[in-house]
Protein backbone atom coordinates (compact mmCIF):
# COMPACT_ATOMS: atom_id res chain seq x y z
CA UNK A 1 0.00 0.00 0.00
CA UNK A 2 1.10 3.55 -0.70
CA UNK A 3 1.95 6.02 2.04
CA UNK A 4 0.42 9.45 1.58
CA UNK A 5 1.66 12.56 3.36
CA UNK A 6 -0.62 15.55 3.49
CA UNK A 7 0.11 19.02 4.80
CA UNK A 8 -0.77 21.13 6.56
CA UNK A 9 -2.56 18.88 9.04
CA UNK A 10 -4.66 21.81 10.22
CA UNK A 11 -5.02 25.52 9.70
CA UNK A 12 -7.14 28.44 10.76
CA UNK A 13 -7.65 30.95 7.98
CA UNK A 14 -9.29 34.32 7.52
CA UNK A 15 -12.28 34.52 5.22
CA UNK A 16 -11.44 35.76 1.74
CA UNK A 17 -7.99 34.17 1.74
CA UNK A 18 -6.84 30.98 0.00
CA UNK A 19 -5.12 27.85 1.31
CA UNK A 20 -3.14 25.31 -0.69
CA UNK A 21 -3.02 21.74 0.60
CA UNK A 22 -0.23 19.46 -0.56
CA UNK A 23 -0.38 15.70 -1.02
CA UNK A 24 2.73 13.56 -1.56
CA UNK A 25 2.66 9.82 -2.34
CA UNK A 26 5.69 7.61 -1.76
CA UNK A 27 5.12 5.74 -5.04
CA UNK A 28 3.62 6.50 -8.42
CA UNK A 29 -0.16 6.21 -8.59
CA UNK A 30 -2.30 6.66 -11.65
CA UNK A 31 -5.29 8.22 -9.91
CA UNK A 32 -5.39 10.77 -7.11
CA UNK A 33 -8.54 12.18 -5.58
CA UNK A 34 -9.56 15.01 -3.28
CA UNK A 35 -12.42 14.65 -0.80
CA UNK A 36 -14.19 16.81 1.75
CA UNK A 37 -15.51 15.43 5.03
CA UNK A 38 -17.39 16.89 7.97
CA UNK A 39 -16.25 15.30 11.27
CA UNK A 40 -18.00 11.99 11.88
CA UNK A 41 -19.61 12.01 8.46
CA UNK A 42 -18.94 10.47 5.08
CA UNK A 43 -16.60 11.62 2.32
CA UNK A 44 -17.69 13.74 -0.62
CA UNK A 45 -15.55 13.56 -3.74
CA UNK A 46 -14.44 17.00 -4.93
CA UNK A 47 -12.44 16.01 -7.99
CA UNK A 48 -10.09 13.57 -9.63
CA UNK A 49 -6.59 14.98 -10.07
CA UNK A 50 -5.37 13.97 -13.52
CA UNK A 51 -1.68 14.02 -14.34
CA UNK A 52 -0.96 16.22 -17.32
CA UNK A 53 -4.51 17.46 -17.79
CA UNK A 54 -7.21 19.43 -16.01
CA UNK A 55 -8.86 17.88 -12.98
CA UNK A 56 -12.30 16.29 -13.32
CA UNK A 57 -14.74 17.92 -10.92
CA UNK A 58 -17.84 16.42 -9.36
CA UNK A 59 -21.19 18.14 -9.45
CA UNK A 60 -21.23 21.14 -7.14
CA UNK A 61 -17.48 21.76 -7.27
CA UNK A 62 -15.77 24.14 -9.72
CA UNK A 63 -12.22 24.82 -10.74
CA UNK A 64 -12.31 28.50 -9.79
CA UNK A 65 -13.10 27.60 -6.19
CA UNK A 66 -10.96 24.45 -5.91
CA UNK A 67 -8.08 24.64 -8.38
CA UNK A 68 -6.05 21.42 -8.46
CA UNK A 69 -2.58 20.71 -9.76
CA UNK A 70 -1.04 17.32 -10.56
CA UNK A 71 2.44 17.91 -11.98
CA UNK A 72 3.53 14.26 -11.71
CA UNK A 73 2.39 10.82 -10.55
CA UNK A 74 3.37 11.34 -6.90
CA UNK A 75 2.17 14.85 -6.05
CA UNK A 76 -0.97 16.97 -6.10
CA UNK A 77 -2.25 20.18 -4.57
CA UNK A 78 -5.74 21.44 -3.81
CA UNK A 79 -6.36 25.14 -3.27
CA UNK A 80 -9.43 26.35 -1.43
CA UNK A 81 -9.96 29.83 -2.83
CA UNK A 82 -11.70 32.91 -1.42
CA UNK A 83 -12.63 30.98 1.69
CA UNK A 84 -15.80 31.44 3.73
CA UNK A 85 -16.83 29.76 7.01
CA UNK A 86 -18.83 27.25 4.96
CA UNK A 87 -15.53 25.89 3.64
CA UNK A 88 -14.56 24.77 7.15
CA UNK A 89 -14.12 21.02 6.83
CA UNK A 90 -11.62 18.19 6.64
CA UNK A 91 -9.95 17.84 3.26
CA UNK A 92 -8.45 14.47 2.31
CA UNK A 93 -6.39 13.31 -0.62
CA UNK A 94 -6.11 9.71 -1.73
CA UNK A 95 -4.26 7.56 -4.21
CA UNK A 96 -5.80 4.59 -5.95
CA UNK A 97 -4.65 1.02 -5.47
CA UNK A 98 -4.93 -1.84 -7.94
CA UNK A 99 -8.58 -2.72 -7.17
CA UNK A 100 -9.76 0.91 -6.89
CA UNK A 101 -9.14 0.87 -3.14
CA UNK A 102 -8.02 4.21 -1.75
CA UNK A 103 -5.09 5.07 0.44
CA UNK A 104 -5.60 8.28 2.34
CA UNK A 105 -3.51 11.03 3.80
CA UNK A 106 -4.25 12.03 7.39
CA UNK A 107 -6.35 14.95 6.25
CA UNK A 108 -6.26 18.72 6.64
CA UNK A 109 -8.64 20.22 9.18
CA UNK A 110 -9.53 23.68 7.92
CA UNK A 111 -11.29 26.30 10.00
CA UNK A 112 -12.29 29.57 8.35
CA UNK A 113 -12.99 32.49 10.67
Amino acid sequence: SAVISQKPSRDICQRGTSLTIQCQVDSQVTMMFWYRQQPGQSLTLIATANQGSEATYESGFVIDKFPISRPNLTFSTLTVSNMSPEDSSIYLCSGEGMNTEAFFGQGTRLTVV
Binding site: Q6, Q41, S42, T48, L92, G97, T100, E101
Partner: protein
Protein backbone atom coordinates in the same frame (compact mmCIF):
# COMPACT_ATOMS: atom_id res chain seq x y z
CA UNK B 1 -26.37 8.87 -9.51
CA UNK B 2 -25.08 5.84 -7.69
CA UNK B 3 -25.98 5.80 -4.03
CA UNK B 4 -24.69 3.54 -1.30
CA UNK B 5 -26.99 3.38 1.71
CA UNK B 6 -25.22 2.44 4.92
CA UNK B 7 -26.91 1.45 8.16
CA UNK B 8 -27.05 1.90 11.03
CA UNK B 9 -25.69 5.44 11.30
CA UNK B 10 -24.78 5.03 14.94
CA UNK B 11 -24.23 1.96 17.09
CA UNK B 12 -23.41 1.85 20.79
CA UNK B 13 -22.80 -1.60 22.24
CA UNK B 14 -21.14 -3.33 25.17
CA UNK B 15 -17.81 -5.05 24.83
CA UNK B 16 -18.28 -8.68 23.80
CA UNK B 17 -21.43 -8.12 21.76
CA UNK B 18 -21.73 -8.83 18.06
CA UNK B 19 -22.81 -6.33 15.42
CA UNK B 20 -23.45 -6.05 11.70
CA UNK B 21 -23.22 -2.99 9.44
CA UNK B 22 -24.95 -3.01 6.07
CA UNK B 23 -24.39 -1.23 2.77
CA UNK B 24 -26.99 -1.46 0.04
CA UNK B 25 -27.39 -0.03 -3.41
CA UNK B 26 -29.41 -0.46 -6.58
CA UNK B 27 -26.16 -0.13 -8.55
CA UNK B 28 -23.59 -2.78 -9.36
CA UNK B 29 -20.06 -2.08 -8.18
CA UNK B 30 -16.79 -3.38 -9.59
CA UNK B 31 -15.48 -3.67 -6.03
CA UNK B 32 -16.54 -2.88 -2.49
CA UNK B 33 -14.24 -1.64 0.21
CA UNK B 34 -14.59 -1.15 3.94
CA UNK B 35 -12.63 1.49 5.82
CA UNK B 36 -12.21 2.43 9.46
CA UNK B 37 -11.41 5.96 10.50
CA UNK B 38 -10.36 7.40 13.84
CA UNK B 39 -10.57 11.10 14.76
CA UNK B 40 -7.79 13.16 13.24
CA UNK B 41 -6.78 10.43 10.81
CA UNK B 42 -7.66 9.47 7.29
CA UNK B 43 -9.71 6.33 6.58
CA UNK B 44 -7.72 3.10 6.66
CA UNK B 45 -8.61 0.27 4.31
CA UNK B 46 -9.83 -2.91 6.03
CA UNK B 47 -10.75 -5.08 3.07
CA UNK B 48 -11.60 -5.11 -0.64
CA UNK B 49 -14.10 -7.59 -2.09
CA UNK B 50 -14.47 -7.93 -5.84
CA UNK B 51 -16.37 -11.17 -6.55
CA UNK B 52 -20.12 -11.59 -6.03
CA UNK B 53 -20.76 -13.82 -3.01
CA UNK B 54 -17.23 -13.34 -1.71
CA UNK B 55 -16.63 -13.64 2.03
CA UNK B 56 -13.46 -12.42 3.69
CA UNK B 57 -12.43 -12.73 7.30
CA UNK B 58 -10.02 -10.50 9.15
CA UNK B 59 -9.69 -11.82 12.71
CA UNK B 60 -13.06 -10.96 14.32
CA UNK B 61 -14.33 -9.11 11.26
CA UNK B 62 -16.26 -10.86 8.49
CA UNK B 63 -17.01 -9.09 5.22
CA UNK B 64 -19.49 -10.28 2.64
CA UNK B 65 -20.18 -9.06 -0.90
CA UNK B 66 -23.65 -9.76 -2.26
CA UNK B 67 -24.09 -12.16 -5.15
CA UNK B 68 -25.22 -9.34 -7.43
CA UNK B 69 -22.41 -7.04 -6.23
CA UNK B 70 -24.91 -4.44 -5.05
CA UNK B 71 -24.63 -4.87 -1.30
CA UNK B 72 -22.19 -5.78 1.43
CA UNK B 73 -22.06 -6.38 5.15
CA UNK B 74 -19.48 -6.12 7.89
CA UNK B 75 -19.93 -8.34 10.92
CA UNK B 76 -17.86 -7.92 14.07
CA UNK B 77 -17.79 -10.75 16.60
CA UNK B 78 -17.14 -10.06 20.28
CA UNK B 79 -16.54 -6.36 19.82
CA UNK B 80 -13.71 -4.71 21.74
CA UNK B 81 -13.27 -1.09 22.82
CA UNK B 82 -10.51 -0.80 20.22
CA UNK B 83 -13.11 -1.35 17.49
CA UNK B 84 -14.59 2.06 18.24
CA UNK B 85 -14.48 4.34 15.21
CA UNK B 86 -16.20 5.43 12.02
CA UNK B 87 -16.76 2.61 9.53
CA UNK B 88 -17.25 3.48 5.88
CA UNK B 89 -18.19 1.32 2.93
CA UNK B 90 -17.24 2.44 -0.57
CA UNK B 91 -18.21 1.08 -3.96
CA UNK B 92 -15.91 1.23 -6.97
CA UNK B 93 -17.38 2.63 -10.20
CA UNK B 94 -15.70 2.52 -13.58
CA UNK B 95 -15.59 5.92 -15.27
CA UNK B 96 -14.36 7.15 -18.62
CA UNK B 97 -11.09 8.33 -17.09
CA UNK B 98 -10.63 5.52 -14.57
CA UNK B 99 -12.37 4.40 -11.40
CA UNK B 100 -13.80 6.36 -8.53
CA UNK B 101 -15.34 5.47 -5.17
CA UNK B 102 -18.82 6.22 -3.85
CA UNK B 103 -18.93 6.25 -0.06
CA UNK B 104 -21.74 5.29 2.25
CA UNK B 105 -22.86 7.69 4.96
CA UNK B 106 -20.74 5.92 7.58
CA UNK B 107 -21.46 4.10 10.84
CA UNK B 108 -20.16 5.51 14.10
CA UNK B 109 -19.43 2.55 16.36
CA UNK B 110 -18.89 2.99 20.06
CA UNK B 111 -17.92 -0.05 22.11
CA UNK B 112 -18.26 0.44 25.85
CA UNK B 113 -16.30 -1.49 28.44
Amino acid sequence: TQLLEQSPQFLSIQEGENLTVYCNSSSVFSSLQWYRQEPGEGPVLLVTVVTGGEVKKLKRLTFQFGDARKDSSLHITAAQTGDTGLYLCAGGIGMEYGNKLVFGAGTILRVKS
